[in-house]
Amino acid sequence: MTDTTTTGVETTDVLVIGAGAAGAALTWSLSKRGVDVLCLEQGDWVDDQDIPKNHRDWEVRGRHYWNASPGKRRGAADYPVTNLGENPVDVYMYSSVGGSAIGYGGHFWRFQPSDFVAKTQDDFGVDWPIRYEDLVPYYEVNEEQLGVSGLGGDPVSPHRHGMALPPVPIGKIGNKWVDGFDKLGWYYWAQSQAILSRDHKGRPACVNRGFCAFGCPSGALALPSNTYWPEALDAGARLTTKARVREVLVNDAGEATGALYYDENGRLREVRANTVVICGNGLGTPRLLLMSKSARFPNGLANSSGQVGKNFMPHVQTMVIAHFDDTTDADHGAWGGTVASRHFYETDPSNDFKRGFTMVAMRGYSPLNTALQTAPWGEGHHDALEHHVNHEATIWVCGDDAPEAHNRVELDYDDLDPFGLPGVKTYYTLSENSKKLGEEGVRRATELAFAAGADSVRSPGFDSILGWHLLGTARMGDDPTNSVVNGDNRAHDVPNLYIVDGSSFSTGGAVNPTHTIQALALRAADKIWEARNA
């Protein structure tokens, strides 16, 4: 990429690009050890007054400036995203201090041991170069740091491990789901959540406002901005917001030397660093790598394998929304989940598909969203609304999708960001395995709904894939010819470049990825520390 005049040069020991879940955890871990860390974030801190749930019209705010889709939000920190393929992914992400976690629900799972060896056990995808046990110490740190609520004793959790805090209340609808699971005899357990059931480390317990994706005014929902970042900044880390990185720089030896970025005034600046860590999420990371072309790396940085941008995995996601004759208390309670089931998580040889899915038993929708989904215009509007509002609850289905090269993200030079940098195109088509797995997920969720007392269900299906989980596009592996980073999250091609976010997942498991993203980040911080002290 051609250079232009830069304004000033900053230096740091470790440069972190992206202040989301991974960037925050990694910066915290290194800065607590006295490492000089500078983080560049293209978004900004979220102002309290901009949190929709601080206002009674939060539903409308959530559709406008807080919209999870960058294609609708189109804020100053966003870049264009166009979603293509037979099952286009409705990509959801935020650029902010906290990254996309500012709009998450706080489901907080560990992966299962089998998730790391799906190729060996099921001939599915690829194996990870690390194992569940490698992440356990980091899962534990993360659970304590964030104050994860849940309960030990789950027979589906390895060694029935515990959580930092007791489970959050499940309320009326949660008890309906419990009844349903018990009728069916299925495994289920209290949903582990990054939501405080008790006061923890200066943050207050959740008061059950619900609809957590629209922002948590109290801070009971664990975010990078109220957990890792305050401690990291106290330890001396530097965080520059509204800084859009254009390119990671390399020297003739093929080492990363820093980055070029546009500051909040649009001036081009350079940062020089000994180590560079990219934490830009499953779209932003491959975008930056592919933009960082040079004579030494003509196909993009760290892309000798050709795998950068490939193997895009958003999970096989949909919802089954159950209707009950009784009311569901949809207006309060942590929205992310009450209880959840991994009964169908592992491969069952009697199925015609491999791997499995999670079912998370959640709450219902709010009036505007319900109206948009269910209430026709005209005379039938009010009857439909009254039928659905506060009489529904949702089962979210999340299934494992295999890495496939044709599911990918690419640069889009036809749709540029405000700095003239390319946007992103995503391509996604469900595999036959994913279709069968998804159909079974809907069938089982429907079975649960009726067992819990529902009188009808509805589902959006798979025409558009819910796009919270952006995984696999700079994957981890032992073989440099078919992976981008090694088991330490270090790029095969660039010895002092690390990539830590959902892009480094080899396979995606069938649960929300944030906990594993942060565990990987904490582990990568240890690996960076060990490498420089070796």
Binding site: Y65, P167, V207
Partner: protein
């Protein structure tokens, strides 16, 4: 996202890429600045058929829906050609088929014209006006009060919270006695 989208909108929604910069605060609607008086009458009649009133609920026309649409148009001039053409199309059809202004014809005739607009004549305009009407309606305090009264859903709880009894974890006893159910990696 999936839980805030219409399932049957047009393939190309001109409102979608403008949503991020078109938030209008509750105190930011007031004088009509974009629409002329004739179009205000037409649009008011239009939104009144999108969400009609009954003995329990107000119609969208009784609220500040037109003011909301006008404020959105002020923030997003790109929408003006689409919406103004849609409003004008409704008026033209009413005059052609009924010899009167859209706002003056019977409700059934208005509805028939809107069906035609939604299907063929002004799909994009219809979709945008529908979404804006729903937004304006379900953020209005009188409507939120009726939502609470009629469905039990209390928006106040969503911003202030409400107590819930702690999870009775004894309910998990059955499952806790079941054998381990995960595969080890070794």
């Amino acid at each position: 996202m999936a839980f805030d989208s219409r399932s049957d909108g047009p393939a190309e929604n001109p409102y979608a890429p403008l949503m991020g910069r078109t938030y209008v605060g509750l105190d930011e609607t007031g004088d009509i600045t974009i629409l002329d008086a004739a179009r205000v009458r037409t649009l008011s009649a239009w939104v009144g058929r999108i969400i009609p009133g009954n003995e329990n609920w107000p119609s969208a026309a009784e609220l500040d829906t037109v003011g909301y649409v006008d404020a959105i148009l002020g923030l997003a001039p790109e929408l003006r050609p689409v919406l103004l053409a849609g409003i004008d199309a409704a008026e033209a059809i009413a005059r052609r088929e009924h010899g009167a202004s859209f706002s003056e014809i019977p409700d059934a005739a208005k509805t028939a014209i809107l069906v035609e607009l939604e299907r063929v004549e002004a799909r994009e305009a219809f979709s945008v006006i529908l979404e804006l009407t729903y937004e304006a309606y379900y953020r209005a305090e009188p409507v939120l009060a009726i939502v609470k009264e009629r469905t039990g859903f209390d928006i106040t709880r969503t911003v202030q919270g409400a107590p819930i009894k702690p999870f009775d974890t004894d309910k998990l006893t059955r499952v806790s006695l079941m054998p381990d159910r995960y595969r080890s990696a070794s």
